[in-house]
Amino acid sequence: MQWLRDILDKVAPLFEKNGKLEILHPLYEATDTILFSTDEKTESGPHIRDNIDIKRVMILVVVSLVPCYIFGALNIGYQESLTFGLSSDWKTNLISGLLKIGPILAVTFATGAFWEVLFAVIRKHSISEGFLVTCALIPLTLPATIPLWQVAVGTSFGIVIGKEIFGGVGMNIFNPALTTRAFLYFTYPAQISGDKVWAIAPDGYSGATALSIPAGQLDANAVTLLNNASINTVFDFSWFNMFMGWVPGSIGETNKIIIIFSALFLIFTGITSWRIMIGSVIGLVFTALLTNLLSPYSSNAMLTIPPHYHLVMGSFLFGTVFMATEPVTSSHTELGKWYYGFFIGMLTVIIRSINPAYPEGIMLAILLMNAFAPLIDYFVVKSNIKKRMTRYAQ
């Protein structure tokens, strides 16, 4: 690899201060640090020595997302063959799924890289790897049928408004990947929710996601509605099938087993907080039980969804594992993470059940709690100070 090092060293002066291509220094630096490990050392201040760094964290998150992509591709192909009434093996499913995901992924990364490099050049800082994780997450939250130009517009919004205007990686208030999805959700509602999603099939066909089946229905039991849908449509909305992920949905969220394994992987490598995940599951189960208790007094079918169905319907698990746990936008105190997670789970059920216009609530719940995370931390720290004060006073 010495020849590569030689080439990089040879062009280096061009990008140094007063070099011809000084403005493109962030690009040079990014290429250099991706290919070779840096020889720069921390020179001042106290710092902790640990073998984990930002790059490793980001890479491990991306690794944990790969199974979601593979299953997503398989599922897209499977749903497509289902809607056309064909039978197909897993190879054709995988290929036709990858052909759908590939362009979305390419557009996301191209757009994300464009903005990241642009801001790095203007602000004269090095390119941060953070956008890789954001761009890897964005396609997983989208339906496979979304037009590519919308992906580009949404990614631009998520990167610029969600992250760069706050000062870049580590400064953002809201999760950029979810900001992208929220933007697309409210800007082009026809493509990301409702009947048009999953209409890969011929004209006149419409597919619905599990959550949109009981949404807006009156005086009915949600589980019965799902079972009826399993009989009347080509899709199977039984609990086990939704757990296994062979249902229409966004690319990465359908298979709950893969998400649970990814969660365990992330927890054991110490990347993400198990407190947030457990907290939000507790919040979801608690609130779902509460809505079940209230359901006899209301005609809203969403209130009758039992907790174990809530867990496998929609993107709750995906959101709580990959989105809610983002270290920048979640609570930082250990106690705060419990509250933060609990409220995400709680709000998810509330948004799902109470508002028929938003059958899925996890996205809005996480964004809302992102805004409240610093406040939770503030109160946790305040109460700690108070406790110590009283202990000291005795």
């Binding site: 130009w149 517009v153 408004i161 205007i165 409210f186 800007t187 082009y188 026809a190 493509q191």
Partner: protein, 208 residues
């Protein structure tokens, strides 16, 4: 002697860019969010605000030596309220549809911080001519931002500007779609935020 003294010029020019009421002082945001879905409503709103600002500034400036300090806010408010009611009635008489679309937002000019703010901060200390220019300048500074927000919102949200279709039909047939978010209030927040951001970059203002 020049037509306008340096001070008068400043009174007129400052609020256009250097101390723009919306993008730098962040006043009058509520109406900037509410009436900017279409350019037409934004233009009418701008004209109404310019008229109210200019007239209220002049009137209060004329009265400034007679107004007792303790009740000045009440007197300013009654002057402004009278003017707003006049504008509202004129719109109802001659542009009924427009006044329906603007609904309460014309009446809410009374509570627009810019009008009260200019009356209190400028008209109470300066002569009628400067106050008039200050009123027109602030109205234009407000309107400039209002109309630019409206142009973006109407173009992105409806594909038209001032009611004229800009985005061609063929583009729609290729799958282009209007941005639904731009018609909603958050769209105005985003556009307004971006305008404030750009304005501050070009004005060289880093922090408050």
């Amino acid at each position: 002697m020049a037509l306008l003294s340096k001070k008068s010029k400043e009174a007129f020019k400052d609020p256009l860019m250097a101390s723009n009421p919306i993008s730098l002082q962040v006043l009058g945001i509520c109406s900037a969010l509410a009436v900017t879905v279409q350019v037409q409503t934004a233009v009418v709103m701008t004209l109404a605000v310019i008229a109210v600002l200019a007239a209220s500034n002049t009137t209060i400036s004329l009265l400034r030596n007679k107004i007792p300090g303790k009740v000045r806010i009440i007197i300013q408010l009654s002057v402004i309220a009278t003017l707003v009611i006049v504008i509202d009635q004129i719109l109802k008489a001659y542009m009924y549809d427009m006044s329906r679309q603007l609904s309460v937002f014309i009446a809410l000019i009374i509570t627009n911080c810019i009008v009260m703010g200019r009356a209190e901060a400028f008209a109470m200390q300066n002569n009628p001519k400067d106050s008039f220019l200050d009123g027109v300048g602030n109205g234009l500074g407000y309107g400039g931002i209002l109309i630019s927000v409206a142009v973006f919102r109407e173009f992105l949200g409806n594909g038209s500007v001032y009611g004229v279709q800009i985005v061609p039909e063929t583009l729609y047939s290729y799958g282009y779609e209007n941005m639904g978010l731009m018609v909603l209030a958050p769209g105005a927040f985003v556009i307004l935020g971006l305008i404030v951001w750009l304005h501050r970059i070009f004005a060289g203002i880093e922090a408050e």
